[in-house]
Amino acid sequence: MTTAHEMNASPPRPAPQLPPRDSRWVRAGRHPLVWPLVTLALILAVNASLNPGLWHLEWRDGHLYGSLVDIVNRAAPLAIVALGLTLVIATRGIDISVGAVVAISGAVAALMIGGDLKIVDGQAVHISHWPLSVALLAALVAAAACGAWNGLLVARAGLQPIIATLIMMLAGRGAAQLLTGGQIITIYYPPYFVIGNGFFLGVPVAALVALAVWLGMTLLLDRSALGLFIQAIGINPRAARVAGVRARTITICVYAFCGLCAGVAGLIVSSNVKSADGNNAGVLMELDAILAVTVGGTLLTGGRFTLAGTVIGALIIQTLTSTIYAIGVPPEINLVVKAVVVFAVMLLQSPEFRRQVRALAFRGAPR
């Protein structure tokens, strides 16, 4: 949208080299966020046609209620994980251990909070083992350490990202199961539930956390050279290093940040269900996150990335899930639909495929 706006403002330029086909709309259509937005709008339209109450927003008990709020709230953990993953993918890496890290973070928090029932002044009060802030900090540090370990393996030991994070995915899941003893640990400490269930100024806290992560990252990456460095590493790691970018340090930091994001998401997830499940928390989340990143328009080959696109991607995934529920088909179809979406996005991103489609569309007309 910005592109179209800017072109309205600027004086008409003589652009004889451009073919007449490239009108303002065509060029606006090339903005990287257009296709994700169109996809989101389409899915929302389908959802709205099946579920007339979709747009209905209501202020009840000081909270915002409605289907849209629900979608945003549920998309928050995925969006946070996907935002961290976007940076990793931008450095031409991948992190498939985020699901395991989500489980670890939730397990650490659950173990440190626990929640014992005590009778204080005749009232039943839940007391956490450790102060809430210490528990949250420990969970986030554990998650960031997992990420940093991935980063070390990739940047220092030179392992392929998928293998380095595969190791973490295996061992991390084992560690989470070890922490929880393979059980679901229930948390009895109401203040902790605010993260996943609470409202602040009527807006879900989880959505606000996701918004804060997004805005913080956007500020940091746009206002400093860091975003440029990350892109440079993704486009050509060796050239970036030769040009003086501290590629290894930045790569380690990016993986650590991805782990941290997964840790935040883990807190939201475990707070939302008031328990920590070492076996199932975050299972297949890495795939959803990769899907959100790609649907949002970030190239898996590294370099170009878009944080806003990733957020839209996460919303698309969540809206898709809600729509599938709204249609009334069994939720198991979800996986098939996601698979079809991944195939479609992959083909659309493939230069080979686009060239062939173009060749078919403009057969005969020299281009």
Partner: protein, 329 residues
């Protein structure tokens, strides 16, 4: 990859795997009574027959420098389709088994075609394939379907007695045959030579006039076929079809291949090493069971640590590649 150095590199990881396997067997035999018996080792084959078959297919994919994440889901889909056709439709096992094997091969071939034709990343294509196959399982049924078909139960319960007090299942015999065929295909056919060539350098292979695209499609079709065969063996082993069967099997298969000494960059490795890797994964589980004091969750951590050790070993032997460069799988 430097073609000349490949020869010198070919042996060390495999040798390391064999030595470690022997060390673990020795350790187990000394530490635990009753460990050093023929049946314990034959049980390794019985319990990991499907993993061996799947890992053989995965070896070929990894040798070309690719990866196949869809294998676990294809195993689950195979168990599901077999169970549904045999139990609900009452088809004969002699029709169902060839059908699911062909289905697996076609599934793999389509993935290979996407990889070869549109230059898509194998990681992503097979990730989507993984979603698709799992989803198709749930489309058939959400619940587990147990198999009571006489042919299936007969094969599942049949024992091949090797000698007094030591027997293996029909599934493990099939797995060993599949393994032997895999070794032959890798080292005795033009297809196997092309696989190694693509892993060494896809560009050079193309310039040499070898059929790169056809080989890639073939490799993924082979992996799909092996997954389906693994799925059939898994059906014998479990006597049920379930969409949650074999979750995470793809990771076990990749771990087995890597621990067996195959380089993830492609071009270097032996199918025989994969047998070693599968046995090692099984042995870790057996050791932990024999120990009794360690919880089962340690299995994953030990496998992760072992995978890490072997990847680092591979990095040390790969001297001709500049270190510390992030590269997409």
């Amino acid at each position: 990859m430097n073609g000349l150095k490949m020869k010198g590199l070919r042996i060390p990881p495999v040798v390391a795997s064999v030595l470690l396997l022997l060390a673990m067997v020795t350790f187990g035999s000394i530490m635990y009574t009753g460990f050093f018996s023929a049946q314990v080792f034959l049980n390794l084959l019985i319990d990991n027959a499907f993993l061996l078959v799947v890992a053989v297919g995965m070896t070929f994919v990894i040798l070309t420098g690719g990866i196949d994440l869809s294998v676990g889901s294809v195993v689950a889909l195979t168990t599901m389709v077999s169970a549904a056709l045999v139990e609900h439709r009452h088809w004969s096992a002699s029709v169902v088994i060839p059908l699911v094997l062909a289905g697996g091969a076609v599934f793999g071939a389509v993935q290979g075609w996407l990889v070869a034709r549109f230059r898509l990343q194998p990681f992503l294509v097979t990730l989507a394939g993984m979603f698709l196959a799992r989803g198709l399982c749930y489309l058939i049924s959400i619940d587990s379907i147990s198999i009571t078909d006489p042919t299936f139960t007969a094969i599942a319960q049949a024992k091949v007695v090797l000698f007094e007090g030591a027997s293996i299942s029909v599934g493990s015999v099939i797995a060993l045959v599949a393994f032997a065929i895999g070794v032959f295909v890798a080292h005795g056919t033009a297809f196997g030579r092309n696989v190694y060539a693509i892993g060494g350098s896809e560009h050079s292979t193309l310039l040499m006039g070898l059929p790169v695209a056809r080989t890639l499609v073939g490799v993924y079709a082979l992996s799909g076929f092996c997954s389906a065969l693994g799925g059939v063996l898994f059906t014998f082993y479990m006597l049920s079809g379930y969409g949650l069967h074999a979750t995470g099997l793809e990771l076990d298969a990749i771990a087995a291949v890597v621990i067996g000494g195959t380089l993830l960059a492609g071009g270097v490795g032996l199918v025989a090493g994969t047998l070693c890797g599968v046995l090692m994964l099984g042995l870790i589980q057996t050791l932990i069971t024999f120990d009794g004091s360690l919880s089962a969750w340690w299995t994953k951590i030990v496998i992760g640590a072992l995978l890490l050790a072997f990847c680092l070993l591979q990095r040390l032997t790969q001297r001709n590649q500049p270190g510390g460069e992030p590269a997409m799988a």
